[in-house]
């Protein structure tokens, strides 16, 4: 789908924050990235409320997971710049 294609082309990558980050081709990918991140935030908020923990806790755990699930060859940001996994 659009997200995988953007990842394969190296336009977007996963960040330790739990959200997608734009690497290049911003005008092409920005709508998709904003939509995906908005939906992710909604899910994280629900988990935070269900478990009575701060949103940042959920985002931190999700951040570790999205980075770990990233396939080799795709890009990730650990907090100090984009790195190819």
């Amino acid at each position: 789908d659009e997200l995988d294609q953007a990842k394969n082309n190296g336009w977007v990558g996963e960040r330790y924050t739990g959200y997608l980050g734009i690497i290049s081709q911003a005008q092409k990918v920005k709508p998709m990235v904003d939509s995906v991140n908005a939906q992710r935030k909604a899910h994280y908020k629900k988990l935070a409320i269900d478990n009575g923990i701060p949103l940042q806790e959920v985002e931190k755990l999700a951040g570790k997971k999205v980075i770990n699930k990233t396939r080799s060859g795709h890009f990730i940001d650990l907090g100090n710049g984009w790195v190819k996994k």
Partner: protein
């Protein structure tokens, strides 16, 4: 699969049993060995080398030496890095004896990071089923175990399996309190100082107990809750309580000591007494702080999140 190349020099004739030596021709790569035999699904052996040698004087007098060098592996989130040991074995009276030896490892992870591990090792394995039917036919004993953890050290006198009623005396020395707290509480609670302790630990097949463990600080330190949002909001919501609790926003302590008890389900109760002063208001304070948590669940949560960043390290050079 890894060829089991062996070399042997054996002498013997019809009526005389063979004697001499058998040994591995070259060291066996544990990673290859692991791939060639199907290990339990969650056990992986990444690196390490194994060599063995057996000397046969007669069928009753056999000695062997197994050497393991820099073995690293992982099992369900537990990790061991660069474990090395020499295992001198002797067959005597239907029992294989492991002569006292030493085992070291560079790092181990159990939810908690341990480095520079060393321990004495000995044990036996009984070949013929002994009279003590219910007893397990083997025993392994670790002695004078040592490891570094949280900028301090952790040691135990003796630990043996199958477990015995005798408690294992675990000693903590100069543990960095802040690093300990960061494990359990990701909010901003800052406590400086170093902690030591003596914990009698009873090991059972179905769990671990700590009875009347003692912890104490060696020197003074500070407790700062100022930057903890949950604490601040609690103070604001509760004026009466806040009047005294606000002293904990910044407390200089001169002594901290406590008792630790943990039951088999991992439920740990710490009863800590702190004597100190809120210097801003020159107010002496006596704090009785009881905290209860399940350590096994905490360690599981830590292994879960570490498992994620550990596999991350393998694929990405930069550490985060």
């Amino acid at each position: 699969s890894a060829p089991m190349a062996i070399e042997y020099q054996l002498t013997g004739s019809q009526n005389q049993p063979p004697s001499g030596q058998i040994k591995s021709a070259r060291s066996l790569l544990l990673g290859d060995l692991a791939r060639s035999i199907n290990l339990p699904e969650e056990l992986t052996l990444d690196t390490g080398e194994l060599e063995w040698q057996a000397d046969i004087q007669s069928p009753e007098a056999i000695s062997a030496q197994i050497s393991i060098r820099e073995m690293s592996g992982q099992y369900q989130g537990y990790q061991i890095n660069k474990l090395s040991t020499e295992l001198p074995l002797i067959l005597k009276e239907q029992r294989i004896h492991l002569q006292p030896t030493q085992l070291t490892a560079e790092r181990a992870f159990t939810g908690v990071e341990l480095t520079s591990l060393t321990t004495g090792l000995t044990g036996y394995y009984t070949l013929t089923p002994g009279t003590e039917a219910e007893q397990k036919p083997f025993r392994i004993t670790l002695t004078d175990g040592q490891a570094e953890a949280f900028d301090g050290s952790l040691s135990f006198d003796q630990l043996s399996y199958p477990f015995t009623p005798r408690p294992v005396q675990i000693q903590l020395r100069e543990i960095n309190i802040q690093k300990l707290i960061n494990l359990a509480e990701s909010q901003q609670i800052s406590v400086t100082g170093q902690l030591s302790g003596d914990l009698p630990v009873r090991l059972y097949d179905d769990g671990t107990e700590i009875q009347q463990g003692q912890i104490y600080t060696t020197g003074t330190g500070e407790l700062i809750l100022q930057r903890n949002p949950a604490w601040q909001s609690m103070l604001e919501q509760n004026q009466t309580l806040g009047a005294s609790l606000r002293h904990l926003n910044h407390l200089h302590y001169d002594s901290l000591s406590g008792l630790i008890d943990m039951n088999k389900t991992g439920n740990l109760l710490m009863q800590i007494k702190v004597s100190g002063e809120n210097r801003a208001e020159r107010q002496p304070v006596r704090l009785n702080f009881n905290v209860e948590q399940n350590i096994l669940t905490l360690l599981k949560a830590l292994r879960l999140s570490e498992q994620i960043s550990q596999t991350l390290d393998k694929t990405v050079q930069r550490k985060y």
